[in-house]
Symmetry: C2
Subunit: 193 residues, 2 copies
Amino acid sequence: MGHSQSDKLRTHERILDVAANRFRERGIEGVSISEIMKEVGITVGGFYKHFSSREALVAEAVSVAFEDTADWNELAKYQLNKAIDQYLSSAQHDNLESCAAFTCLAADIRRSNPATRDIFNRNLEEALAAVEQGLGRNNTARRAHKAATIFATLVGASLLARGTSDEKLARVLLSSVSQELHFTYFSEIVPSL
Amino acid sequence: MGHSQSDKLRTHERILDVAANRFRERGIEGVSISEIMKEVGITVGGFYKHFSSREALVAEAVSVAFEDTADWNELAKYQLNKAIDQYLSSAQHDNLESCAAFTCLAADIRRSNPATRDIFNRNLEEALAAVEQGLGRNNTARRAHKAATIFATLVGASLLARGTSDEKLARVLLSSVSQELHFTYFSEIVPSL
DNA sequence: ATTATCTATAGATCTATAGATAATGC
DNA sequence: ATTATCTATAGATCTATAGATAATGC
């Protein structure tokens, strides 16, 4: 039974990591505090020394889930075509834990409190700006339109591919979208994923 | 207290309609049977004369939610550009009840049982086929790619727009995507939504 | 002395069932 | 006679809190 303050900090972070993963995997309403604490390895009673309420955990855990998207944003800024491939190929893996926060949490966040929804807003703006930057200096007039469309396409394709239990359909969908995006925005013919 | 068989049929359908709306609005896990029955105007005890379990209700209600998409599919087959506008403009309304089943239920269905997931698979195939048909006879080689991309874009844009609480951002996103899709696939410049 | 964690539990809510009631339909 | 609906409740589970225990840190 460790009680040091550094232990507490580590526990706090472990709770957040587990919650961020389970929320993406089973939905924000689909995971109980006791399940999270069991996975962390601490009993339920300890939870409220770390978070004032379940809602407070949700807000922090959603924020953590979006931290994973920061790397993708950087890739999108400088190598957008690679970022597109990465987004679509990650949706092929059955690994819901590492699901992009937009794809797996958007519907749940819509039903959350204002603080949690603000996190979504900020991250959406950042993702759109990253894609826009990745498009470079051509077509200035339509660049924002293109960025919104590309990002919406990635999220939609990923959502639909993860939603279907027909794995072949999922692969065809992701591959089709990948090829079409590259064709339209990079004038490239690419091999299938 | 009506007990006729036609009353029972109507009650059954009312339960399904209410469930289909509330599931889209608050998530499949976010609505209790008692809430649904209260809205229908019948007590909880009556529920199990209509459905063997909650899961059975989910499967039937998801099916009902997707019935609403049949009209859109018909529109997509013969007037795809209008169908695109309709999909994106419906996402502007804050009316979660009438949320397209793909947008609002995909993440929840992913966590449902195989019967429910099959309904999703079938409807996804139908929607993709409808968009493909709507694209007409040009570009046969890339038609499936285009259809998948257009539909994924609609779903993603609708999901993101509904997820954000920044209404201005939602409008800009939907308008951008609408203009870009028309420009890319119909070579049309369209007025904003 | 303080506090991170544990044990235990209160109060709410959820799914599902049992038995009563009051209509339908033979 | 059958059965759609109602009343009541069992059993499970969830959030949150109270008080005990055992470490840390002054």
